[in-house]
């Protein structure tokens, strides 16, 4: 159990082992563990970022929705207004058209009346002339009284 050459052997074993552990075991394992730590941290950060983005998106979504609702309400209001306008316009148009029609009809009627009157006047004049002719045939020359007759006709 005294110290002897064995110590040389054990020294060599020890140092080879240290070298081996340092180079092939400790290095890879610790660098892998560091990489993993980084990955986990990155993942957590990404998750946090994603959550934040989701919140933002949700906020934006609700904003857009609200805006859309406002717009839709505006459009509906506008459309209603326009519809009532159209109805009013149509009413106005119809009224005008009706009035126009009535006016036309009235004019026509007046014209008809006028024409009938004219006809009647003619016929009355002719009748009067015929009557007068018949009366006067015997006594008066028709030609001599034409002037008088037309003045009468005009007075009718």
């Amino acid at each position: 159990m005294n110290v002897n050459a064995t110590i040389i052997g054990q020294l060599i074993t020890f140092w080879v082992l240290i070298w081996f552990v340092m180079k092939y075991v400790w290095g890879p394992i610790t660098s892998m563990m560091e990489a993993r730590t980084k990955r986990i941290a990155d993942g957590l950060a990404a998750g946090e970022r994603g959550k934040h983005e989701l919140e933002l998106a949700a906020k934006r979504g609700s904003e857009v929705l609200l805006e859309t609702k406002h717009k839709a309400a505006e459009i509906i209001a506008l459309a209603e207004k326009r519809a009532s306008e159209i109805v009013e316009e149509a009413k106005g148009n119809a009224k005008a058209e009706g009035e126009r029609l009535i006016a036309g009809a009235k004019a026509e009627i007046e014209q008809e009346v006028y024409r009938a009157k004219e006809g009647l006047r003619q016929q009355v004049a002719e009748l009067a002339v015929a009557g007068a002719e018949k009366i006067l045939r015997r006594e008066i020359d028709a030609k001599a009284h034409t002037e008088l007759l037309s003045s009468i006709k005009n007075e009718l």
Binding site: M1, L11, F14, I18, F20, M22, V25, W26
Partner: protein, 255 residues
Amino acid sequence: MVPSDNPAMYIQHHLANWKMGEGFWTWHLDTILFGMLTAFILMYFGRKVAKNLTSEAPTGLQSFMEMIVEFVDGQVKESFHGHSKLVAPLALTIFAWVFLMNAMDLLPVDLLSFIGGVLGLELHAKVVPTTDLNTTFAMAISVFVLIVYFSIKSKGVIGFGKEFLYIPFGKYLMPVNIVMKLVEELAKPVSLGMRLFGNMYAGELIFLLIALLPFWVQPLLSTPWAIFHILIITLQAFIFMILTIVYLSLAIEEH
């Protein structure tokens, strides 16, 4: 050989190394063999894990290794306040290798000579390399060399020399300081090597003493002792590692 026939002979046989050579050039083949064997076990599993590393969720051997690496790394970060690529792997090597060598202690004391007997060999060998001063001092001296190296590296030859001359009693007691510092520095490797050797040697000896008792008493004693020994094995490996870290940390710190 039945142990109780000649207790003194039995114990002597079991505490003798498997020797080759004469004088200083005596080689303890058992110590070297089992030292290398445990070193190879460590290298094999270390390399196996390091080759199949995955940064996904680790399983089995890798998580076990990661646990140890993390534990050692934590100890080093806590105690060693410098930057060195060597200290942490050194601590891991010491912890794992000493643990494995100590763990050989849990093999039955007569197993090796029994196997030797089966093979027809008169084999007297110790399976626990840490019960050999050569192993513990190989490590302790390595640590001592590193202490000196770290001291000179961080303080320079002059700074390191000044520590010898002026500490702890100031410049007027220079000779006393030198003696004190020498004792302080030399006590480190000696205590490191002797502590581990003493604990493991004593543990082995108690196993041998238990083996001398009648066979029906043996399990009653050897089982609790083996269970207690698991603690000692781990504790001694841990102490060696921690002291190494602390000594190296002291070496780089200014006084």
